[in-house]
Symmetry: C2
């Protein structure tokens, strides 16, 4: 067990400095003192869940148990309707050990062709993000956000990451890869999940 | 997908009629229309989680996804301090295919002896119950309740079930197996988890 939890400390169960910085910016106005999993000495558990929510919970719960502090974790990916929701929680795995999302995007397009996808409707997809908050009060909360759209080929734009260059959100004619990052952050699946989390934190005025 | 969700329908992800009846009695005052997983045609997923919270979430999420209705699931067990929290999520499995908790209790006592447990402090244990509520609004909530005490040998009383005959809760000198059921339901781990759930439902006045 680490030191006794202060009222608004929150560990981000991620070893990605960019993600921790982004979350710090989002939650600082609510008075949270954000600590990274690395700073807190938290482990990286195996993601054995079958859904985004389960994987986010596994990470948040392991981090809270190891540090004795409230923890926040996320899990996200791309779900393609015509592929039964694939790649889903395997979105990163499709990119292989080299994390080559060019390969992963080609696989999505190949499987769409094999599934006989022709119309825009056949190419529907969404990004999903699950945020899990594991409190030290034995209460956990999970919030899922989604952004809906369709997939294009070939990939367009180099401003995003992952599957961004093939995803066009509803109401736009450019991909996430072509979109201004501030605009993307405003309408993204992660933004939708964070809006639910922030509403919860404000509503409960929780000390976690 | 089943019919569109009514505002206060709630599926209990359990195929145990006694448990469904107990939860119906607890939540009826809040205006919930309780349906059993059997009535709703919901599946029983494999419990592959590593904690009570993860197993409860797996069951609630699978039930909500299958029925299109908000779902509530629980997972519970006995945690023995000197055994590093075992049997924990394996509490039912220790009873074997015959569900013989006499065998399971003997195993707990044997392992306590092997661990050199002598004092009351060496025999500390708790029951834990995780309740997971999976809403159709992409928000899930998990509430964990615990009751702390110590283990005795030999087993005493036949009014409870499972490990009840060897568990003496703090502040009492009788086991859960000897206790009046109404008294046990008032102080139990499940009561503690339900108190948190009910407080949440009242606070959010959620329509799920």
């Amino acid at each position: 067990m680490a030191e006794a939890p202060a009222s608004r400390k929150l560990v981000i169960a991620s070893h990605n400095p960019g993600k921790v910085r982004e979350i710090r910016d989002l939650l600082a106005p609510l008075g949270f003192d954000i600590i990274s999993a690395g700073e807190a000495g938290a482990p990286e558990p195996e993601e054995t869940g079958h859904t985004f929510a389960q994987n986010a919970l596994i990470k948040a719960e392991a981090c809270m148990t190891a540090t004795g502090l409230p923890a926040l974790a996320d899990d996200s990916g791309l779900e393609v309707d015509a592929l039964g929701g694939a790649p889903g929680i395997y979105a990163a795995r499709w990119a292989g050990p080299e994390k080559d999302f060019g390969v992963a995007m080609e696989r999505v397009e190949r499987e769409l062709q094999q599934a006989g996808a022709k119309t825009l409707q056949d190419r529907r997809a969404n990004f999903a993000c699950a945020l899990a908050l594991a409190g030290t009060d034995d209460c956990y909360h999970i919030f899922i956000g989604r952004v809906f759209g369709h997939l294009v080929w070939p990939p367009r734009g180099d401003r995003g990451f992952g599957y961004d260059p093939i995803f066009v959100p509803d109401g736009y004619d450019i991909t996430f890869g072509e979109m201004d990052p501030a605009e993307k952050h405003r309408i993204s699946h992660r933004a939708a999940a964070f809006a639910k989390l922030v509403a919860h934190l404000r509503r409960t005025e929780t000390t976690l």
